[in-house]
């Protein structure tokens, strides 16, 4: 009863890189995405694995991706933003109307100056809705679900008021040809480049900056964040402004792509963005999530839809198949993570 054995505590070692990568929330769900692409490729190699298909899937997803980057920040704060789709529409409308007004009623042949002003107006309109949302949520302490459900309706109503209920259909050709359908660097669509840049900035902001850290802190424990001197109100407002501004940008992109304001098209963008974000490993209870996860989460349904259309799955089966893959993907991801057994 007394030999002293030295068992030094293994203190403060860092987990090796490989383990940390395997532990990343997004690894396994990324694998699911690759498996899906491979599966479609095997079923119908000639039609699926084409550059053109890659291009179109990327383009069609780029608007949703921009929305989802903003949504990721919002959900990490344990909030939600149901208004992104209609704020997108509203921003497209204000932008299009401004461009028209600057060009004497029809902006079809307007130049770059007008287009740039249009872009600024779109982002500003989105940010304004974000400011309203954020203020009501952070300052007046109204649940995000109620606030953004309200602005979901109100933004569309406002857009319809501005246009009298029909789409604005004159969009500068410069815009449509450059951002909407142009490509750069030998075939990369400009829409996609735009989305990549936005996503990269979003990922950087979330992962490495103080803004990102506060986002996690607020979502993880709002009271704690408050007590350590973070201005939670200000930060929440900023996060919703960011989401709104990105929705505005998405509205501008959507308008460039469709060359019209597509009033009726965005009723379920909110759920799609939320689904992509959650699928990518962001927790609706806040504090946990990543932009790279969201990217993968957004692409899974997109790839499924495109793949099913190409291989000709019956249209009524498609939502069922998407549902099965969605659930299975998350289940697989959870299980892998549980197998790693970290928390």
């Amino acid at each position: 009863m007394s030999t002293v054995t030295e068992k030094a505590p293994k203190q403060e070692e860092k987990r090796p890189l490989l383990k940390r990568v395997a532990g990343a929330n997004s690894l396994w769900i990324g694998l699911v995405l690759l498996v899906l692409i491979a599966a479609f490729g095997v079923i119908d190699p000639t039609h699926v694995l084409t550059i053109f298909n890659l291009q179109t899937v990327l383009i069609q997803t780029s608007v949703l991706l921009v929305l989802s980057v903003g949504m990721t920040f919002v959900i990490i704060t344990s909030g939600i933003d149901l208004s992104v789709g209609t704020v997108l529409v509203f921003s497209g409308v204000t932008s299009a109307l401004t461009m028209n007004a600057m060009s004497g009623g029809d902006s079809t042949n307007a130049g770059w100056g007008v287009v740039i002003v249009g872009g600024i107006v779109a982002v500003a309109s989105g940010a304004a809705w974000g400011l309203l949302n954020g203020w009501l949520i952070a300052k007046a302490k109204i649940p995000p679900l109620i606030v953004t459900l309200g602005s979901f309706g109100a933004a569309l109503g406002a857009a319809e008021l501005l246009t009298g209920g029909s789409d604005v259909r004159s969009v500068p050709n410069t815009l449509a040809k450059s951002l909407g359908s142009g490509t750069s660097f030998g075939g990369i669509p400009n829409m996609v480049l735009f989305a990549i840049v936005v996503t990269a900035i979003g990922a950087w902001l979330l992962a490495t900056t103080r803004f990102g850290r506060y986002t996690y802190a607020v979502g993880s424990n709002e009271v704690a964040a408050q007590r350590t001197g973070i201005s939670v109100t200000r930060h929440l407002v900023l996060v919703y402004v960011l989401a709104g501004a990105l929705a505005g940008l998405a509205g501008f992109m959507s308008m460039a792509y469709f060359t019209t304001t597509t009033l009726t098209s965005h009723g379920t963008d909110n759920l799609n963005a939320i689904a992509g974000t959650v699928l990518g490993g962001t927790s609706v209870f806040g504090g946990v999530g990543s932009v790279i996860g969201t990217v993968i989460g957004v692409f899974i349904p997109a790839v499924l839809n495109q793949g099913f259309t190409i291989i000709g799955v019956n249209q009524f089966w498609q939502p069922i198949a998407v549902a099965i893959v969605l659930v299975a993907a998350v289940w697989f991801d959870q299980n892998r993570r549980k197998a790693r057994n970290l928390r």
Partner: protein
């Protein structure tokens, strides 16, 4: 007792029909350790929340360095150099210990990236390790979220955070409750060191031997009012328990 650094006069705080504070008063001077003791539910945590800006009292006044102040948020208190360890640990469970230590006071990178808000995580982690070993906090792994730490480890992180940043007053609401024997001694040492730097320390504890060993003075709260004050060197365990249970009341202290 020297000139009080922070003073509270007749604070009242209601939660609905519950009267948590019924006119409680309190003083702490620079360079002294004051223990605030009292039964469960006596109002100690509420009192400290009012003095650190986490809650607003319904009435009463707070003076800091002789001037009346209004603490409408914890930030206001922190900017005066007042730090707090809350009983319901105010940590962000999804962040790692280093991030929690620097929360609200992040170190940014040098140059442009820093101006853009980019953090110097390595530096923070390094300094955090230093602080933790200085305070004797042993963690098996630094890059796991706080939620994965043991109860005592979590509490040690919260204590470390307050003493690293305080410049005038530190409030500690039961900082040693979950700590092991060694860690507890370390925290008491730290409290003494902090005191010696001229900072006022307010300690809440239910451990009477600890209170008597580390404090300069003891103030006793009962049912939301101050019922007794002691010099620690003159008080006995029986005095303290008597005051807390209501067996002993000093007439002039409320």
């Amino acid at each position: 007792m020297s000139e009080p650094l922070l003073e509270a006069r007749s604070l009242v705080k209601h939660y609905g029909s519950v009267e948590a504070l019924r006119g409680a008063s309190f003083q702490v001077a620079a360079g002294e350790v004051v223990s605030l003791i009292g039964d469960n539910g006596a109002g100690k945590s509420t009192f400290i929340k009012c003095l650190s800006g986490a809650e607003q009292p319904d009435s009463g006044e707070i003076l800091f360095e002789g001037k009346q102040i209004h603490l409408d948020s914890p930030t206001a208190a922190r900017s005066l150099g007042i730090e707090t360890v809350y009983q319901d640990l105010a940590v962000a469970p999804d962040l790692d210990p280093a991030a929690n230590l620097y929360l609200g006071r992040e170190i940014k990178r040098k140059g442009l990236l820093g101006a853009l808000g980019m953090l110097d995580k390595k530096e923070m982690r390094r300094k955090a390790s230093e602080e933790f070993s200085r305070l004797g906090v042993t963690l098996q792994s630094v890059d796991v979220p706080i939620a994965a730490l043991s109860g005592g480890q979590r509490q040690s992180v919260a204590v470390a955070r307050s003493v690293v940043w305080a410049s005038k007053v530190v409030f500690m609401d039961e900082p040693t409750a979950a700590l092991g024997v060694v860690q507890r001694e370390r925290v008491l040492d730290v409290i003494r060191k902090v005191r010696d730097q001229g900072i006022g320390v307010v300690l809440i504890s239910h451990n009477m031997p600890e209170v008597l060993s580390v404090s300069d003075r003891v103030e006793v709260l009962r049912l939301g009012t101050r019922v007794a004050r002691f010099k620690a060197s003159e008080a006995t365990l029986e005095d303290l328990v008597g005051a807390m249970t209501g067996a002993l009341v000093q007439e002039d202290v409320a």
